[in-house]
């Protein structure tokens, strides 16, 4: 499931040629999809562990296996399309292939509502991408999105069936509320992501300013005060705690036994 994709199909169709403009971009996007699928897989498997319902355990588990398989397929496709770009974005994947513990955060019913909504969005997105690559003579990629899209369709179907079952059991209002909250939550997450990006930029700017404006003076002072670097082993000798004077040029390690007092210190 692609949680972060909020665009309607017609917007997707408009942006797809730009977002997927060349092999490098394709490989990067595919790795991003792999990361998201992996994150989803982790969430589904965790949900399978947490739920008390045996039927849901099976469904979540199978869904999680599917997502893991999708992640692998996206990764393999990315490597085939542009190995270097795929390798370069692998580290990026580590940051984004994270479990969000949605089942724990939301509870059972809202979790299923979330899954249903997210899978529907993913299905729509993959349909657009299938059509795009089919029309651009990239049969392999078109097939990839078609086959994964079929899995997403099954995920939509089973989650929808569960929600319908709850509706039939008299929990219709709860289901509708959960589906509404999914949309609100998605919007809030989008807002937070935007805020995070802005914040990242501001932090970076501030630190660059500090580097340029504040560090020079202190670097100069340190240069003037610095003694020649000692090469080789430093002997611990009989240094006691806290004897960190410049003369001793201690590396900060203690030779005395580790007492609780010493262990309380962070320095």
């Amino acid at each position: 499931m692609i949680e972060h994709t909020q665009r309607l199909p017609f917007v997707m169709r408009a942006t797809t040629p730009i977002a997927w403009r060349n092999d490098r971009a394709i490989a990067t996007k595919l790795m991003g999809f792999a990361a998201t699928e992996l994150g989803s897989s982790l969430d589904m498997l965790r949900a399978a562990e947490r739920t008390d319902d045996a039927r849901l355990r099976r469904l979540y588990f199978r869904h999680g296996l599917d997502e893991a398989r999708h992640a692998q397929r996206f990764r393999d496709a990315a490597k085939r399309v542009h190995p270097e770009a795929a390798e370069q974005t692998r580290a990026h994947e580590k940051l984004h292939a994270r479990r969000m513990d949605l089942h724990e955060q939301l509870g059972e019913l809202p979790f299923v509502a979330f899954v249903h909504s997210a899978e529907a969005r993913a299905k729509a997105q993959f349909e657009v991408l299938e059509a795009h690559f089919a029309s651009h003579d990239r049969a392999e990629l078109a097939t990839l999105f078609r086959e994964i899209g079929k899995d997403e369709q099954r995920h939509v179907a089973y989650s929808g069936a569960i929600l319908d079952g709850w509706r039939a059991a008299g929990r219709g209002a709860e289901v509708d509320r959960a589906l509404r909250q999914v949309r609100l939550r998605a919007a809030w997450q989008g807002w937070r992501r935007a805020g995070r990006r802005i914040g990242d930029v501001m932090v970076r700017v501030l630190l660059i300013l500090l580097f340029v404006a504040v560090l020079p003076l202190f670097a100069l002072i340190q240069r003037c005060a610095r003694r020649r670097d000692e090469i080789g082993w430093r002997h611990s000798g009989t240094q006691s705690f806290g004897s960190q004077s410049l003369g001793s040029q201690s590396l900060g390690s203690q030779s005395s036994p580790s007492s609780l007092d010493e262990l309380r210190r962070q320095s």
Partner: protein, 589 residues
């Protein structure tokens, strides 16, 4: 007394719990988060540890973090000032991280675990390493050598460790300071060879035997000068790990050794061109690392006068160097704890508090590394039934082992999930992929279709003790390393003739000795294979796919089975085979 140790924020975070000095549980966070070498605060691993002990975080007496954050911060700041005006990207990245999060480790831990901050302690990084090795060892006294990238400021240290009637003591004798570090040198060259740092070092070790070390050894020895007393001096013109967040070597290194390898690019060490060059560099690097380990160990022997050596820190995971040290080094006995990297700091910090600060008696030495989570036969069966996975259940381990042995002898490759999960990076028969070790083709198949690894990477054998004597060449000294698969030894002539899948190109192997007293179930399985084939050795590799951590749960093990070419999967006493394995289609209803 309940002491929880935590390591985090560099790589491979972990938690370990000691109750009255006994190790109850220890595990790496990556096994829960499923993010390889996860460095974030190990909340799930910590939660597992306290649950395993039947307590909560509130019940803990002490929580100890494995290093002194403010000392580390000081080093980062002074280092930034030293290299100024260079190093802006390093400064921006590290200051952002530290000002925002890592300086506040104490309050972050207090908030995350919901505990009183006054119960949070801070050990020293290398002292945590040293403690993890000594207190897990069978020694009453020993020299301890630690070596890694860098802790707060220390890159390597020598301690004298003693347990006697007065209690336990860990006395620092001498240390090496940043940036002169064998760990960072090895990692920089790992990056040069196109592998991921803190993950690719094993690959470099596997690549080295394909190369000729003499070609590049003089050049490397010039830029990494090893003193007679085991000290180290790096020529920093060739490295940039101290001033760049991602690039650890400079263009000068490429002028010296040739262009670096692009990450992910194909590598054939026998191509006679770049592949051979990289193998030669790996060989020289490995040779230099071994030289340093020997020299540092000699210095440790000289300054401590001890007969036993414990080692810890990432460099202690270099099992090739360990094997040579154990066989021919200055110490009579050598011990390395299985999670010798940063994860082990969690255990060591807890042991330091328990045995040194609180004076609690030591636990028995670590015999197996099975300190993680487990799933019982009942839990496994319930998972398989709930998920409608067809399986066969055996009434006993003996029956199960016979069936497995039969399949292995037929050339099948299987996953083995049993007991508590291993502590440390190696799979030791609890979360393993196993196969017949006798043919080289088997090794190729496992590499290509199951692990999806580079073809030059070898597999390791797990052998019964008497088979170790038969198939491998071991020095006539007590062996504390091979039970944890931490030393590489030569394969005997009988071994080379018999064990094609697990003998590396240079005739060596990283053997695991499976002692029936320490690992009864795994030993019994290997015994069953011996009864069937006459060979009491199995190919043993970890149960994970490329880029993923070792599996923790039965469900994750099934995921590995589902996405690879494994023929069968053993979950405790249940057996799933590819013939009974159902694809999911139609199941989602």
């Amino acid at each position: 007394m309940k002491v929880l140790g935590l390591s985090a924020f560099f790589h491979d975070s972990a938690a370990a719990l000691l109750v009255d000095g006994q190790v109850i549980a220890a595990a790496q966070e990556e096994r829960w988060s499923r993010l390889k070498a996860d460095a974030s605060l190990p909340l799930e691993a910590a939660r597992f540890c306290v649950t395993e002990a039947g307590v909560s975080f509130d019940d803990l007496d002490w929580i100890v973090f494995h290093e002194k954050p403010l000392r580390k911060f000081e080093r980062l700041v002074t280092s930034a000032l030293d290299v100024f005006p260079r190093g802006m990207s390093q400064f921006v990245q590290s200051m952002g991280l530290w000002l925002g999060q890592r300086l506040w480790t104490k309050s972050n831990i207090a908030r995350a675990l919901d505990v009183d901050p006054d119960r949070i302690l801070f050990s020293d990084h290398h002292r945590s390493h040293a403690a993890s090795a000594f207190f897990s060892s069978p020694f009453e006294r020993a020299a301890v050598l630690t070596a890694d990238g860098v802790g707060e400021r220390t890159t390597s240290a020598i301690y004298r460790a003693v347990t006697d009637a007065h209690g336990s003591r860990l006395e620092l004798v001498k240390e090496l300071g940043f940036p002169h570090s064998m760990g960072l040198f090895y990692s920089a060259l790992t990056a040069y060879l196109g592998f991921e740092v803190n993950d690719g070092e094993y690959k470099v070790m596997g690549l080295a035997p394909f190369g000729d070390p003499t070609r590049h050894l003089p050049a490397l020895a010039r830029i990494c000068h090893i003193h007679d007393d085991g000290a180290l001096t790096l020529d920093l013109r060739y490295f940039s790990f101290h001033r760049h967040p991602t690039r650890s070597f400079t263009r000068r290194l490429e002028s010296l050794l040739g262009p670096a390898r692009a990450p992910g690019s194909a590598l054939d060490p026998r191509d006679g061109r770049d592949g051979q060059r990289f193998a030669d560099i790996a060989a020289a690097l490995q040779r230099l690392c071994e030289r340093w380990v020997m020299a540092a160990a000699a210095e440790a022997r000289r300054v401590t006068g001890e007969d036993n050596l414990c080692m810890a820190g990432g460099v202690a995971l270099n099992s090739v160097a360990n094997g040579k040290l154990a066989a021919a080094g200055p110490f009579h006995e050598v011990f390395v704890q299985p999670a010798a990297g940063d994860a082990g700091g969690a255990l060591g910090a807890a042991q330091l508090v328990s045995h040194v600060a609180l004076g609690l008696p030591r636990a028995p030495p670590m015999r197996d590394a099975l300190l993680g989570s487990a799933e019982s036969q009942v839990e496994v069966a319930r998972f398989l039934d709930d998920c409608r996975i067809r399986h066969e259940t055996f009434a006993s381990d003996a029956e199960r082992d016979q069936a497995i042995a039969e399949r292995l002898a037929r050339g099948e490759v299987g996953g083995l999930f049993q007991d508590r999960m291993e502590w440390g990076p190696r799979a030791l028969g609890a979360r393993s992929i196993i196969a017949d070790p006798r043919s080289a083709a088997m090794g190729e198949r496992v590499n290509r279709k199951i692990k999806f690894r580079e073809q030059f990477r070898p597999f390791a054998p797990a052998a019964l003790p008497d088979e170790v004597e038969r198939f491998f060449v071991r020095a006539p000294r007590p062996d504390h390393l091979s039970p944890f698969m931490l030393s590489v030894v030569p394969v005997s002539d009988a071994g080379r003739a018999t064990l094609g899948a697990v003998t590396h190109v240079d005739g060596s192997a990283r053997v695991q000795t499976v002692d029936p007293a320490a690992s009864p179930r795994f030993a019994a399985l290997i015994e069953a294979f011996r009864a069937r084939t006459g060979v009491g050795v199995l190919l043993n590799t970890s149960m994970n796919l490329k880029g993923e951590p070792i599996c923790r749960t039965a469900a994750e093990a099934y995921g590995v089975f589902d996405r690879s070419d494994l023929d069968f999967l053993v979950l405790e006493r249940c057996l799933v085979t590819k013939s009974t394995h159902q694809r999911h289609s139609g199941e989602l209803s």
